[in-house]
């Protein structure tokens, strides 16, 4: 990934991509759109590039816009018919069917109550209908999805979630050196963590929240101080 810091503003014409597009196929990610023969930014932020031809804008945003295939953390809000209503931070409340859990049948329903947290995948996301979630993969297995019990849960900006999920992000690996933990990161800006003890969980969540402002170089520093705190 190219982490050059070319900041673009909404409405700006991006000629670099147009040049590249003459030779090969390019994929325009979030924040970029094509107007006839030109490529125009629709959001503000640094322009990112990934080989071979993917471009997107890493803009700062706190409202989640659902997209198919996203892994999200949702809060159960209630039951409606044969569906649960789930808050995933999008404009609409999402829904998940009783049958979208592993080994669920009409008789054998999952036991979820308002206030529970689930880790789910977005199955359907369209501007006009409410998003639909699912807690199983195409083989009917739950994998890592489903109810998250215990631990601690907090909300953050979308950027922090994306930052931690980036392939080359050293944060999670650096944290692993300090303590063992479980983590579920939703691209909707919600994070669930669980460590062995309450103290560790607390320290971990604070460390993760401070990482948002930090660069890659500072992550090691944060992890070091986290280790110091835990040893004291």
């Amino acid at each position: 990934m190219d982490s050059s810091n070319a900041i673009v503003m909404p409405g700006e014409r991006i000629t670099i991509i147009e040049e590249v597009a003459k030779e090969k196929r390019v994929i325009l990610g979030p924040g970029l759109r094509r107007l006839d023969d030109t490529v125009v930014a629709s959001k503000a932020g640094p322009l990112r590039h990934k080989e071979p031809g993917t471009y997107w804008i890493d803009n700062y945003q706190r409202r989640y816009v659902p997209a198919r295939g996203d892994l999200v953390l949702g809060i159960i809000k209630g039951k409606a018919g044969d569906q649960y209503r789930v808050d995933i931070g999008s404009a609409d409340i999402a829904s998940i069917s009783y049958l979208a859990f592993e080994a669920a049948t009409k008789k054998n329903r999952p036991d979820l109550n308002p206030g529970d947290i689930i880790y789910a995948r977005v199955l359907n996301a369209s501007a006009d209908i409410e998003p639909e979630l699912v807690c199983v993969n195409s083989n009917g297995k739950r994998g890592k999805l489903g109810l998250l019990a215990d631990g601690f849960f907090f909300k953050c900006t979308l950027n922090l979630g994306r930052l931690l999920l980036r392939e080359n992000c050293p944060a999670l690996a650096a944290l692993t050196r300090e303590l063992p933990y479980e983590i579920a990161i939703g691209v909707n800006g919600r994070i669930w963590v669980k460590a062995n003890s309450l103290r560790e969980t607390m320290a971990l969540s604070n460390a993760i929240l401070t990482m948002e402002q930090a660069g890659y170089t500072e992550i090691d520093k944060i992890c070091d101080s986290l280790g110091d705190v835990l040893q004291a």
Binding site: R62, A149, D150, L198, M202, S205, N206
Partner: protein, 398 residues
């Protein structure tokens, strides 16, 4: 620049509630504070009289005092008016239900009304220009800019500081003619206070009966009950707001009251010091004349509780010795500042303050009962059950 840091309201899931309950059991808080430790309070005064921004951690509240001539009510023809308006519109959580929002603003409004209006902290009779005809109407606008818990304390400090910072123009009423003097003609007049109330908020959880002071929004949302106590600087109770589901016993409430009384006193001293410093800066001309945006910016000059009150903890120990010194030292800078025709008026305020401060050592928490000795405790607990029930009944009424 200020920003709605929360955006999504925390403390709405079972996981968070369970986690906080466990943390409370071990007397731990997410931000590393102790149960009796408050966040730092920062005051920023605006260029105009009576505009203040208070930040308490991430919580930010702006208060603006304005005045206007009006007619008094028929029931109180020789009293001015004090009106409080609370706006919570600055905080709009994307996932919050409107209901909780309305409830929150109602609670805050009623708390401020009781703390400042019902307790009659501002001398309203001094705001009367002509009985039954002309009185001053003081309007306080409280704007919540960011909510990270403990709106109550931040708002009461903001309102108090704004009222104390405020100056109204001088006015005369002769031969049926009302004349308002501009600042150039006559000095502006500060409001007269009878006492200075501030509130302190506690959260109580079922897993640990120890009260937690100055809760964050997460702690507030997961708490089983919240107690808000307003005290004035003479340690007299002005407001008590208790609610929730935890069976709180008298001891807990008294424990809260004792520490709240001390905290309020320190807070009022802090506001006074901050005001003095602000006035000095205005006189020296070193103060940046900031507008509304400047008030909210992080770069603007802040007067922090921790730095201003550093030396004060020591002073409190030899309170009686230092008292005479303080009384002598205090009036001087203000008198110098307020030379002019309304010097009489200023002297009035000054003579009020030292007199009351001298009283302080005498009624110093005398009404607060001492901590019950552990030997008495078991005997107290056996007849303690009906007591608790009575408490519950009271709460419902409130």
């Amino acid at each position: 620049m200020f920003m709605n840091t929360g955006f999504f309201e925390p403390g709405k899931t079972k996981t968070e509630r369970k986690f906080i309950q466990q943390a409370v059991k071990q007397s731990q808080r997410l931000d590393g504070r102790k149960s009796g430790e408050s966040r730092d309070v920062q005051l920023t005064f605006g260029g105009e009289y009576g505009s203040v921004v208070v930040s308490l951690g991430d919580t930010k509240v702006m208060a603006q005092v304005t005045c206007d001539m009006g007619t008094p009510t028929t029931s109180r023809p020789n009293e001015g008016k004090l009106q409080l308006y609370v706006t919570l519109a600055g905080v709009s959580y994307l996932d919050s239900v409107q209901k909780t929002h309305d409830k929150r603003s109602l609670t805050l409004n009623s708390l401020l009304e009781r703390t400042f209006r019902t307790s009659r902290c501002v001398d309203l009779e001094s705001l009367c220009v002509a009985s039954e005809l002309h009185v001053w109407c003081i309007r306080v606008d409280v704007n919540v800019l960011n909510h990270d818990g403990n709106l109550y304390d931040a708002s009461t400090v903001a309102v108090l500081a704004a009222l104390m910072h405020f100056r109204r123009p001088d006015v005369t009423f002769t031969d049926g003619e009302l004349r308002t003097y501009t600042e150039k003609e006559r000095d502006m007049i500060p409001l007269l206070f009878l006492h200075y109330p501030v509130s302190v908020t506690y959260c109580i959880y079922t897993s640990n009966f120890q009260p937690f002071v100055d809760p964050t929004l997460l702690e507030e949302n997961t708490a089983d009950s919240t107690i808000i106590l307003s005290f004035n600087s003479y340690q007299e109770l002005c407001t008590l707001n208790a609610g929730g589901t935890v069976p709180t016993d008298v001891r807990t409430i008294m424990q809260c009251a004792r520490s709240a009384a001390n905290r309020c006193k320190a807070m009022v001293t802090f506001v006074r010091k901050a005001l003095d410093q602000d006035e000095q800066q205005c006189l020296e001309g070193t103060k940046k004349n900031t507008g509304m945006l400047g008030l909210m910016e992080n770069s603007s000059q802040k007067l922090s509780f921790k730095t201003l009150m550093k030396g004060d903890q020591k002073q409190q120990q030899y309170k009686t010795e230092d008292m005479d010194l303080e009384v002598e030292a205090k009036p001087n800078p203000k008198l110098e500042a307020d030379e002019g025709e309304n010097a009489d008026n200023v002297e009035n305020v000054e003579s009020d303050q030292p007199a009351q401060e001298e009283e302080l050592p005498m009624d110093d928490s005398g009404w607060l009962p001492q901590e019950p000795e552990p030997t008495i405790d078991p005997t107290k607990q056996s007849p303690g059950k009906p007591k608790r029930k009575r408490n519950k009944g009271n709460k419902k009424k409130q």
